[in-house]
């Protein structure tokens, strides 16, 4: 299911951060590959991913290293323990959000 761009910008930003972390949880990856991995789940453009990666780096949720690849340098991103903790926090928050969502939906019916 593709999540639309119409969701609240701040909410979307928070979700995108965790989505990128979740991709990196599987293993070290690079920009283009992260976009490809997320393309089936959430809409993310090249220009959106870059500041996400910068933010995750500044928060020390990920680290980066440059690796020589086919005669050029490619940046590989790796999740840190702080990043993994962030994912776990998101999962807990999401479960609470789901409970609130069910409550609101029930009250609205």
């Amino acid at each position: 299911m593709l999540y639309s761009i119409a969701m609240d910008a701040q909410l979307r930003r928070g979700i995108l951060d965790v989505c990128v972390l979740a991709v990196l949880r599987r293993g070290e990856s690079y920009g283009y590959q992260i976009i490809q991995d997320l393309s089936g789940i959430i809409v993310i453009s090249e220009s959106t991913l870059y500041p996400i990666l910068k933010r995750l780096l500044s928060l020390r949720f990920v680290t980066v290293r440059s690796v020589e690849h086919s005669g050029r340098l490619r940046k590989y991103y790796r999740i840190t323990t702080l990043g993994i903790e962030r994912i776990n926090e998101f999962i807990i928050d999401s479960e609470e959000m789901l409970m609130v969502h069910r409550f609101i939906k029930k009250e609205n019916d």
Partner: protein, 199 residues
């Protein structure tokens, strides 16, 4: 101009409102994306074609930076980037008191020494100017003693004026250095009592 160079050039122009550090980072990143697409079998033209138009891409980059979380302004390019800091553990500060206190006191005494030198050197141009005036007053008398003495007096006047100018320039440099050293004290104190890290 090949399509990649043209695209990156146009993108750089559209990103002109960001700091140079951010622009360089974005250009490097887009370059990498193009190379990765080429590796999947696309041509350079196709890889560039897949990217949004430079002005649209720049708008998206700018919008993404608009919350200022990661944007470095042109002004911040010239200064040290400000990282989030929080206080060190009080126990650590207490335990290391002999070390940081001595360090700060040493730094303060260096600052005082710098400024004392400045004050001392300020006297120099005054002395040189006074000397040149005094010599100028007695130059006619020197000529009476002999032309060589008069010429020597005139030479001395010019030399004293030159020394006065040189000492004023020296004072300017010393003041600049003393101000720089003094400004570093708060940075040192901040380093002693705080540390970087995610909040």
């Amino acid at each position: 101009m090949n399509p990649r160079k043209k695209y990156l050039k146009d993108l750089r122009v559209e990103l002109k409102n960001l700091g140079s550090q951010d622009i360089d980072g974005i250009i490097t990143y887009v370059n990498e994306i193009i190379d990765d697409q080429i590796e999947t079998g696309l041509s350079e033209e196709e890889a560039v074609w897949n990217l949004p138009h430079p002005d649209k891409a720049a708008r998206e980059f700018n919008d993404s930076f608009s919350n200022n979380e990661t944007k470095t302004s042109k002004k911040e390019d010239k200064t040290e980037s400000k990282k989030k800091r929080h206080g060190r553990h009080p126990a650590l500060i207490i335990l290391t008191f002999p070390l940081w206190f001595t360090l700060i006191m040493l730094y303060v005494s260096i600052i005082i020494t710098f400024w004392s030198l400045v004050v001392t050197v300020i006297v120099l141009p005054i002395a040189f100017v006074a000397g040149s005036v005094f010599t100028g007053v007695f130059t006619p008398a020197s000529f009476m003693a002999g032309p060589q003495f008069g010429l020597f007096s005139i030479g001395a006047i010019f030399a004293l004026i030159a020394l006065a100018i040189f000492s004023i320039l020296l004072i300017k440099v010393m003041i600049k250095g003393s101000v720089g050293v003094s400004k570093s004290l708060p940075v040192l104190i901040r380093w002693v009592f705080t540390t970087e890290g995610a909040e």
